[in-house]
Symmetry: C3
């Protein structure tokens, strides 16, 4: 049993910018040589999240619209009144979606569905360089 | 320390069909003989999710109604315009709920509350045979 | 590779009462002496959840308001019609947020962002003494 922790960086534009990070995670998994275990994808910070979706432009856009309804950009946020950085909606969205996603793997492959991709969602209101942590446990 | 990966299948009707899968997971856990560790329940695919709830018909129905408000069936989805399979709402719901659920166990039992069950939620718009992955780490 | 399971208790007031539990979790992590691995924070029960947020009063209040919209207190819940305990909204909220949160750690520290705290959200409609499970895997 071993644990491997790696990170990679991704440039994001914010405002619910959704990136398919499956391929990078698969590369990290393959480099460990582990065949069975669990993989935790984690984004440090309080204005981004990790989930999975069929990564095609229609579904991605539908998710953005649902999130806009869930925590709209154009309402008052107490966070903004205190800090003036204007990203109160980003904090609420990130807390609701969650910053952590765990996937089992077997025979060296994540057990995702055929049309299921792991995505980073950047909720911030500006461009960011995001660090993504991939931690892999297994044998 | 060992890792065990097992799967089981469950027939679902779709349209937010919610199934209590706690008993099946407990059986998988007991068959490993492990006493302390973590258990990851994962549903491959992009139109289903895993969470926990008090599995009684009232709360289950309340959850269905909240999900209908969160991503209604009767609005336009870009996914449908592209693919014509009519399950754009299913994709959005699954991305928001998440397809992965981790539970610690100790003395061979999941540390769930007395009235807390692990559930599979099938968001698709048709019947499916779902595979559920149960991965168990521990000693 | 080792697994450590510990619990702590926290008094909550309910009605979306949000507590920063980061410091307690860090203490648990330090007491294990492990330097790299994964930490699962879990709240048993079906009326509470775990997530992360920048724990400042503005963002915390914004999250409460978004949750009130997501599953309002003042609508009908079938759970209440059956059980009369009046916390149908609490069950729906907990099922949507999730009761489990996994964080990688490295060099003995959780890989959280600088302004990111792990929080317990108590959705129940009354005061509770909550147990929080912290399970730590690593080497």
């Amino acid at each position: 049993m071993a644990v491997h922790t790696s990170t990679f960086h991704i440039s994001t534009r914010g405002m619910c910018d959704i990136h398919d990070i499956t391929h990078q995670i698969e590369k990290d998994l393959q480099s460990t040589g582990l065949h069975a275990g669990i993989l935790c994808v984690f984004v440090p910070g309080s204005t981004a999240g990790i989930t999975s979706i069929e990564f095609e432009p229609g579904a991605v856009n539908d998710l953005k619209k649902a999130i806009e309804k869930l925590a709209p950009t154009n309402i008052h946020y107490d966070h903004d009144a205190r800090w003036g950085d204007g990203n109160g909606f980003s904090h609420v969205r990130a807390a609701l979606l969650g910053s952590s996603f765990s996937v089992p793997f077997s025979q060296g492959r994540m057990l995702l569905g055929t049309w299921q991709q792991v995505v980073l969602v950047d909720f911030d209101n500006r461009s960011r360089k995001r660090e993504v942590v991939v931690q892999i446990f297994g044998e």
